[in-house]
């Protein structure tokens, strides 16, 4: 093969739809995930805006109660299973993990493609619930028994969809673990690995070990609905709280499947835009593993009001406070990285800073819910909805957008309009906080979640929240429109290291990368991945 053919970038290498949907190139698979995820995200966001529209005023405005129940369930299922769980690992993990490790692909490229196909099949199954019978599930994304066993809506298909999607998650996790163990470039030890790779490593272990639990739990619901086995039915010896245990044994660690990769993104953004080494590399790396490990033992804090035993509640509450320690370690180290850095405020950094601000609100409100006494009052109120969205959207969502802006020039070899990107960020940031902060206030006032109506005293926070959803939607459209418009700016040639201060290996290759990822051997910095004192010189 000639050097020109070798340097052909992955976007030009082959043409046609089949060259994409049957590609085993990790970069193309990452983009397949990206386009699918963004599509589902827009569907989920539209449902969210519709819910807020219903809640603009007290009383019935747009939907019947049953329709509202189905919409919030669909919103949850799409956003959790189709967007936020796969989001960063499937898109940026797939695209950048091999490049950051200095290798040409993941360990099992065909398995990687299979993961995407399984994801698509699961998505089709989830969306098919709209089309037949009594419509999509109305249980909430948690599918709690006994209601999920009794309702006539399409719960069986929804849980089967989540079951199938779980396989995609497991296979991606497995692929990343083997890739990290086996395919690091010579000289790259674990402690010379970028922090994004560390975050993906910890995440992958959770995907591999926790996802089977939700798989079997969801099948138990199917067994209950189809065969009436009685696993969760107390009248024939079952236990409904057992369902909650099994569900949260997976779903709490799943929160870290969603959050840990976002931590990895922030750990990449901050050194680049502070132009200095990360503060506390080992502390950040090992705290990822600590979060992954301790996160397995805190699931009971979702069940404080379920009727579980008092002793267990105390144990889970203590464990919940423990998991805050490694999380706080990360935040302190990020702030210390910024301290005395040569800070270059670019759009990706804005998203990184937005992440820290919002994630702190989400994390600290989580401690309020982890404390037994306050949780009794706040459980199943809008405080929980606000807290959850601050962590997941304000945290992981903003990290996802930050990563999209950070690696955009590397992925597509183009650059978006930075001014518009900055404006979009501020609109998003204001919209986000207008949307979700009033929810916490409404929750503190006692407004219960999951109802299509509310008492008049909750009107003001709901009104502000709905206005916020419009601002957020405008911000989202502006951000996405700006990114799409960036594709048309073909005249610009993007340098290998367009930010000038990127230090991990992806900034040593072409933008966009060639099929084999590198046109020349990548050079590792001398003392670890963020060694700005011995930064390799990058020639175009």
């Amino acid at each position: 093969m000639t050097s020109t053919a070798l340097n052909l970038n992955y976007l030009q290498a082959k043409k046609g739809i089949f060259s994409w949907i049957f590609s085993v190139d990790h970069k193309r698979i990452g983009l397949l995930y990206l386009y699918s995820l963004i599509t589902f995200f827009l569907v989920g966001a539209t449902l969210g805006v519709l819910m807020r529209l219903e809640l603009l005023n007290p009383g019935k405005d747009l939907f019947e109660a049953q329709t509202y129940n189905q919409i919030f369930t669909m919103h949850g299922v799409i956003m959790i299973f189709l967007f936020i769980i796969p989001s960063i690992p499937a898109v940026f993990g797939n695209f950048f993990l091999p490049i950051m490790l200095g290798t040409d692909d993941v360990s099992f490229p065909r398995l990687n493609l299979l993961s995407w196909w399984i994801y698509i099949i699961g998505a089709i199954m989830a969306l098919s619930t709209l089309l037949f019978g009594d419509g999509p599930a109305d249980t909430g994304w948690t599918f709690y028994v006994p209601y999920s066993v009794k309702t006539g809506t399409n719960v069986t298909m929804s849980v089967l969809a989540a079951f199938v999607l779980g396989f995609s998650s497991i296979l991606t996790g497995l692929n990343f673990i083997v890739t990290i163990h086996r395919l690091k470039t010579p000289g790259m030890t674990f402690l010379k690995m970028p922090l994004f790779a560390w975050a993906l490593y910890a995440t992958s272990w959770i995907q591999l070990l926790a996802t089977p639990v939700i798989g079997i739990t969801l099948l138990m619901i199917v067994a209950e609905r189809v065969f009436g086995v009685g696993l969760f039915d107390p009248s024939i010896g079952g236990d409904p709280i057992l369902y909650q245990h099994l569900f949260w044994i997976y779903s709490h660690p799943a929160v870290y499947i969603m959050a840990l990769p976002a931590f990895g993104i922030i750990s990449e953004l901050l050194p680049t835009f502070s132009n200095r080494t990360i503060f506390g590399y080992k502390a950040i790396a090992f705290s990822s593993l600590a979060i992954a490990f301790v996160g397995y033992f805190v699931w009971g804090h979702h069940m404080f009001t379920s009727g579980m035993s008092g002793l267990a509640r105390i144990i889970y509450s203590i464990m919940t406070f423990l998991v805050a320690i490694p999380t706080a370690i990360k935040v302190f180290n990020w702030v210390a990285t910024l301290y005395k850095g040569s800070i270059d405020v670019q759009p990706p950094l804005l998203y990184g800073l937005g992440f820290i601000f919002q994630f702190m609100i989400g994390g600290l409100s989580g401690l309020v819910l982890g404390a037994l006494a306050t949780d009794i009052h706040l459980h199943d109120t809008y405080f929980v909805v606000g807290h959850f969205h601050y962590v997941m959207f304000g945290g992981t969502g903003f990290a996802f957008f930050g990563a999209l802006h950070y690696w955009y020039p590397k992925i597509w070899g183009r650059m978006y309009n930075k001014l518009v990107a900055n404006i979009a960020f501020f609109i998003l940031f204001i919209g986000f906080n207008l949307l979700y902060f009033p929810m916490m206030i409404a929750g503190l006032m006692g407004m219960p979640r999951r109802y299509y109506d509310y008492l008049p005293e909750f009107h003001l926070p709901n009104m502000i929240s709905t206005y916020g959803s419009w601002v957020l939607a405008i911000g989202l459209l502006l951000m996405l429109g700006n990114l799409i418009a960036g594709f048309r700016r073909k005249h610009e040639k993007i340098a290998r290291n367009p930010w000038g201060t990127g230090i991990t290996l992806e900034w040593q290759t072409l933008s966009p990368p060639p099929v084999a990822n590198f046109d020349r051997m990548p050079v590792l910095p001398k003392d670890g991945p963020y060694d700005y004192d011995h930064k390799p010189e990058i020639k175009e």
């Binding site: 070990l209 709280i241 397995y296 033992f297 009971g300 579980m308 035993s309 002793l311 267990a312």
Partner: protein, 104 residues
């Protein structure tokens, strides 16, 4: 007795388990199965310990299978650790859930 091809690099070395090891493992597993059946059918009256006893014997069998039949004994130690971590997680789930159930 197991054999290794010493001339290969360490990560590529293979081991061939002897018939003696295989049969010893098989006999151990059969014996443990017999013990399980004897306890349950001929009824040492273990009451609440009966489930615990059955699980204990099953756990020993799992260890024997993993260690000899599945070659954990001859593999890198990291694989033993991985299996242990999974076992610890599983036991933790069971213990924490049981604590909750028994103290309701």
């Amino acid at each position: 007795m197991s054999h290794t091809k010493d001339n290969l690099p360490k990560e590529e070395q293979v081991h061939i388990t002897s018939y003696k090891d295989h049969f010893s493992t098989l006999i151990a597993l059969l014996l443990l199965t017999v013990i399980t059946v004897v306890i349950s059918v001929f009824g040492a009256n273990l009451r609440s310990l009966s489930v615990f006893t059955a699980l204990l014997i099953a756990t020993v069998k799992v260890i024997v299978v993993a260690y000899y039949f599945m070659h954990l004994k001859y593999d890198k130690k990291v694989y033993t650790w991985l299996v242990l971590i999974v076992a610890i997680l599983f036991v933790s789930f069971a213990v924490l859930t049981s604590i909750e159930y028994l103290n309701r």
